[in-house]
Symmetry: D4
Subunit: 141 residues, 8 copies
Amino acid sequence: MLDAKDMKILEILMKDGRKPFTEIAKELNTSESSIRKRVRKMEKEGIIKGYIAVIDPSKIGYNVVALTGFDTDPQNFLMVAKKLCEFEEVKKVYTSTGDHMIMAEIWAKDGQELTNIIFNKIGKIEGIKKVCPAIILEQLK
Amino acid sequence: MLDAKDMKILEILMKDGRKPFTEIAKELNTSESSIRKRVRKMEKEGIIKGYIAVIDPSKIGYNVVALTGFDTDPQNFLMVAKKLCEFEEVKKVYTSTGDHMIMAEIWAKDGQELTNIIFNKIGKIEGIKKVCPAIILEQLK
Amino acid sequence: MLDAKDMKILEILMKDGRKPFTEIAKELNTSESSIRKRVRKMEKEGIIKGYIAVIDPSKIGYNVVALTGFDTDPQNFLMVAKKLCEFEEVKKVYTSTGDHMIMAEIWAKDGQELTNIIFNKIGKIEGIKKVCPAIILEQLK
Amino acid sequence: MLDAKDMKILEILMKDGRKPFTEIAKELNTSESSIRKRVRKMEKEGIIKGYIAVIDPSKIGYNVVALTGFDTDPQNFLMVAKKLCEFEEVKKVYTSTGDHMIMAEIWAKDGQELTNIIFNKIGKIEGIKKVCPAIILEQLK
Amino acid sequence: MLDAKDMKILEILMKDGRKPFTEIAKELNTSESSIRKRVRKMEKEGIIKGYIAVIDPSKIGYNVVALTGFDTDPQNFLMVAKKLCEFEEVKKVYTSTGDHMIMAEIWAKDGQELTNIIFNKIGKIEGIKKVCPAIILEQLK
Amino acid sequence: MLDAKDMKILEILMKDGRKPFTEIAKELNTSESSIRKRVRKMEKEGIIKGYIAVIDPSKIGYNVVALTGFDTDPQNFLMVAKKLCEFEEVKKVYTSTGDHMIMAEIWAKDGQELTNIIFNKIGKIEGIKKVCPAIILEQLK
Amino acid sequence: MLDAKDMKILEILMKDGRKPFTEIAKELNTSESSIRKRVRKMEKEGIIKGYIAVIDPSKIGYNVVALTGFDTDPQNFLMVAKKLCEFEEVKKVYTSTGDHMIMAEIWAKDGQELTNIIFNKIGKIEGIKKVCPAIILEQLK
Amino acid sequence: MLDAKDMKILEILMKDGRKPFTEIAKELNTSESSIRKRVRKMEKEGIIKGYIAVIDPSKIGYNVVALTGFDTDPQNFLMVAKKLCEFEEVKKVYTSTGDHMIMAEIWAKDGQELTNIIFNKIGKIEGIKKVCPAIILEQLK
């Protein structure tokens, strides 16, 4: 189980994933080695799954970010979800209880490229029956 | 504009946001100071918006992650979107062209807490007309 | 925590809620007093919430059983859900992440009575914005 | 046809399905044998279909209860509905006039297990075309 | 209760509501007075609610027949349904468990007149929140 | 083209399809033969498609009247619509621009019979992909 | 009524609205003055409502074209539709029987501007209850 | 890149696509040859895709204009979209992120012809799974 100090460390790293352990240590009034040990433990247990840089897609030419729902044959569901993960344009994949059981975040340069990715690439996966992209207009948090 | 080396750095940091610049430099056959300069520039221009630790919510007691759509009076739309960002339980907020124009990711310990967050806290924001949570079952990527 | 014997008792009572403890004891090769003790404990801890006779509504004149979704102002959500519980015609109430956040099972003698219950009685609760009844045609399990 | 006394007995047993006939008799000012006779008759005629213990699923480790709609080929509809009844994880099955003609209540330990039940087990039934789970957040009545 | 002869008479009149009783009598091998008596009884008991000529709307200039769903405040539901019946352009009104609880058949000369009927006349009824017309393309039976 | 007198006759017959021509003649201040001639002409031109007795289905044992939408392969659409017309339980069939392109009115004795009609009879038509029944609760006009 | 030559002229102008009358005349083997007379007549009768240059929005910086549905109070419907016409960003407005009774085509530079147009400008019109933009990815004809 | 004068010319031509260059020149205080050069350049670069006469469909006998959504197998999506363009009755085709990924504008003389076009002609294209026409009631801009 996590104690209060672990939770504090998580909160800090969820906001600034690159913060040096020395700084975290100072903030929490403890030693750098203690922070390091706790972080390593949380990494090992899968509590911390990794660290990522958060990019503004539009600033590197990806003007269209689409939260895309997929309907599949139930028989092919898990296979489709796994295949989706293999595409570089697909940044996130999860299963959900919403209108579509598979949701994926897809990045494209413009609408025409999105059409191309969805139908000439992803849409060729066997078992996909419907594709429903919703464009993300603005991320606020 | 970004050159090929910038794009490489972004790719590396989108996978491992904590990788030391010295390692990135070695990988890209350049100096640590060159990497540092490029990263600082991309941070300053808002291309890199930050770095975050990616947490497995279920491992710290958040068993219910809900991708939640909000319908609002068009008059109050932007105000509602901004107020949503202030809640600690709300991890992401964006506007989209899907079934609901505001989407938010909410973390809760269980279904009962989700009901409580949605209706006793968030639902009190003036202008919210409908709340549609979909539970994320599993994140695959 | 429940052990294997507790789980066995639960399974038996979920199929025949009136089975005498003596019979359960014989089936599980233990004493009647042991069964009684375990059952009382599970009742006290809220694991067993009660025992009910399962009725065939059509055989006592309720020809229309409607699984009914309710949309409400988020502000009035919890109050509406609680008020619904007070109606005798409403047999079950729960909150869900489906198309409607409140679902209720309503029994009526015929379609005309259902219309009357929904609009002259339940529909008068303040804060209800839409009522969506779906008729249960046949219960198979 | 049922008389007023039968209806009273039903009301009592729908609330407390384990109440001894002697207590019901006292409450209704009649003999235990009269109650027994009436109950046996209603059981025989299928008015009382059985007695069940009502369990709180979350207290025995089932954190996810999903009211799940199924779409099928009309040709396979009745066969699918019957096959669904055979799964232990499926607690209730009925046909309805709502968005999905088959509705089933499924119990799972968490979201990942639900995904597994739905796609690796139930989804393999031939003729199922779409599966739409809605999570029950809280049962109020 | 209806006997077989009554049912036969109904079947005949549901296909040809103007058929003279003498012809029905001949067809069913009975007297004209017996038919008359049975029909009068069924009219009196509300089994036969009336007789109508079935018109082809497009042949008298009604090119647009719209099956129109209405959403209302639950509080005003029954009042709205009754008010709808008063409009000459509204040919049928019923309550249903479909996507909209009130359905009405509206006849109009063209799309522009339909817009006018729906918004300048019917839409002024207090309590109507949404109007969803679907155009009937062809009646086959 | 129809003149004002034709329209008057139509209005009368749409309300009382069995009204004797002599009475209509008196009402419109004209001769019975004139009425007869005009009616015969409108029948011949398909303006009047027929006359029907309007029955209260619940009074002859049809407790469930379902406005049922059908989704089909576009390839089989017209064939399905025609086959539907052949079923005795199907009282009306039309094509529409609503959620389902084929709508049919089906009469059944109860929910179980409706399930049976829809899946064991109608659902066997090749090309039907989805069936969506909505129960008519009450006809007001 | 239009004759075959009028229809030919329309077909030509629907493809090339700037074609000189002399060329149309040559194509149809008639005089320039005859074409001019026919075109003027069709303009006067409102058959030809005007001529427009067809622009590729993305080539002049409008990267987001949204086919946007509006839901309104029925009471304010016609007023809202008319107000929408006054906005420069709104290129087309029509009423329809689809999911939304008002549809409008809106041009914006990017997603953020679309959000701004919809909520800070258009959304302020009284009576608008819901706004549902769908992004046009590519126009093929 | 376009300058302010180019934008002015576009604005003028988007309202009156047939306006002579001499008149545009006078309006913008420049020479006819300058206008001609700029227009030719914008035509060549695909900024101006063409010029069309705008017709009132109902005035030439097309009483039914349907904005029609198509659902397809993702595998056949692009092929279907291209085939749709070949039909004369189909006036516009585009891909979108709305409820249906292909939208087409179809003109027909009446509802029966629309049914015929959709199912006997267009519906025969392989890969089309669902067709959802919405009737345009009135174009306001």
